[in-house]
């Protein structure tokens, strides 16, 4: 039965005081470099690491503000759940979270700005935002001492501590992979606003992997976001091109209109459709075979990662974090239920 080793026992061993040992592990404290070195070496030999719980116990609570500016309910609900899960795991480290969910129907961007002002003024250690891309507003946070983290959408590094998104290049590649596995050769790409980083990165990796797999992307189609109902347009678009393609990849979240159009004109399995994300409305098309598979961004995991990494950074368990790019998941008829 080896004796339990703490800063006290270590100090005794080294003929130093507990506070010296304590300080050795905190780079911001003043301590004779020579002493520090000896202590860290000894700690290493004993395999000793300070208990972060006991340490947090005597330190201040860390506050993190969450702003979700939500458009699509199932989407931001996942975000919320992910944050709550991460918070629950970390709450014992004295980490508090102040979650504000503003549905877009009811709140303006000015309301968002007010929330961020509030966070900053309360001197929260960190702020997580999702669904708000206006850099003028986000500056409220990035110009303050609060650390900014973006979920779902990548922000430039100089504005934020890091972003937690899915991997866009991986998504494009994986879509191409599966279309090739299905033996498809001539593909259509339905995408969102191509000027956005997100969609252009997905497009590029999709095109590249398609070529690598000897497939042709015959056309790229981005309907304007402002159009409220794509159904008719999509229907005409697809009808005109019937026979010139055998696979479709839809990167936009608004896939339903396109699915409907496909279903009208094709039997299940006649062409292969790969969509993005899962939500109640799309499961119908997965079930009936209109959509063969979805690439799921896992917003839950993105939010969870964002909160966890930010919190650990704030309590100094990690250095400055990298951007996080989560690998999306393939979803088919059998497993969508796990992620809905």
């Amino acid at each position: 039965m080896e004796k339990k080793i703490t800063i006290y026992t270590l100090a005794e061993e080294l003929q130093m005081t507990p506070s010296a040992v304590s300080r050795a592990f905190n780079p911001n404290t003043r301590l004779d470099p020579e002493k520090r070195k000896r202590i860290l070496e000894a700690a290493d030999r004993y395999g000793f690491r300070p208990n972060r719980m006991a340490s947090r116990l005597s330190m201040d609570t860390v506050q993190i503000g969450i702003l979700i500016y939500g458009g699509f309910f199932p989407f931001y609900q996942k975000i919320e759940e992910g944050i709550r899960a991460a918070h629950a795991r970390l709450v014992d480290y004295k980490i508090e979270c102040d979650m504000r969910i503003l549905p877009r129907e009811q709140y303006s961007r000015e309301d968002c700005a007010a929330v961020l002002q509030d966070f900053v003024q309360k001197k929260y250690g960190g702020v997580v935002v999702c669904g708000l891309y206006d850099t003028n507003i986000l500056k409220i946070v990035s110009d303050s001492s609060s650390k900014l983290v973006s979920v779902h959408y990548p922000l430039p590094r100089e504005m934020c501590l890091f972003s937690s998104t899915h991997s866009f290049t991986m998504a494009g590649q994986m879509a191409a992979d599966i279309l090739q596995i299905c033996g498809r050769k001539r593909l259509l790409l339905f995408t969102g606003d191509q000027s956005s980083v997100v969609h252009s990165r997905i497009r590029d990796s999709f095109l590249k992997q398609a070529e690598h797999c000897s497939m042709q992307v015959t056309e790229i189609c981005d309907f304007p976001e402002t159009m409220t109902d794509w159904s008719e347009t999509a229907e005409g678009f697809i009808a005109e091109r019937k026979g010139t393609f055998d696979g479709i990849y839809i990167t936009t979240g608004r896939s339903i209109d396109i699915c409907r159009a496909v279903k009208k004109q094709y039997a299940p399995g006649e062409i292969t459709v790969i969509a993005t994300d899962i939500y109640t409305e799309i499961t119908e098309y997965i079930e009936d075979g209109t959509v063969s598979a979805c690439l799921f961004q896992n917003q839950y995991a993105q939010a969870e990662t964002a909160f966890e990494v930010l919190a650990k950074y704030l309590i100094k368990h990690t250095d400055i974090p990298e951007d996080k790019a989560l690998t999306p998941l393939y979803i088919t008829r059998s497993n969508y239920i796990e992620y809905l």
Copy 2:
């Protein structure tokens, strides 16, 4: 600025003592039921929960023993990593782990028994086993006061606290899904020992989902585990049946011999092969298109889950856990690198 609420402030509020409040949250302690009720109610009103860190701080360290009886290195390496990751997240709760890895080439089952004896005799709170299925040996643990948890292979509930495996039924269904998406109709199933729960459950769900998707499983083939090299047998087997099938699902981990046989006789994409798990040797066949996709069991996550859930149970953060059945992941050329 609301005052921070602790067992002391709560006690004051209720005209009771801190220890009464403390006891109220531990069901095993003696306390006037009436008092307990009042305290719990008040706590609920204030949204107060005892800080589990501070609580653990004054309690004994929990010891967990890990026994990995390993056959295939990449496999048990993942298990080890998963355990270590979970342990790292929980170490602050004063949870220690004693990991013993016994490669099968060097150690007998008697050696395993000795390790388990050691764990039990040291009164470890819990024991995680992987790769050892002999119930006579496992009884050493399940008859003791240490809680037994099985990773990768399901043990009967009366023997263990819970098992952490992948979902067998999900695996079978997902394999069928993807074969259908690829437009396949007549399938071969290569499986392991069908008398084992694992393989029979996968088989059953595969057959069921295949039928649901209007596909035929023309033959089920389980080569004896004792055979050291399946290559020739597999080659003959496949040659004889050429033209009678267009898809293969391999549930056994030893897929390489079958892949080799397929590669010799088919061009990439001529038939669709779905394999199980990923490891260095199989990536070659994924790259060249012999294998279209793998269903990955994620041993890392299984081990991580096992350790985490067991630890949280032992420190009373959770009630008696359910068996864990993780959804396997689809792997293709682009994303295998993430899980290797």
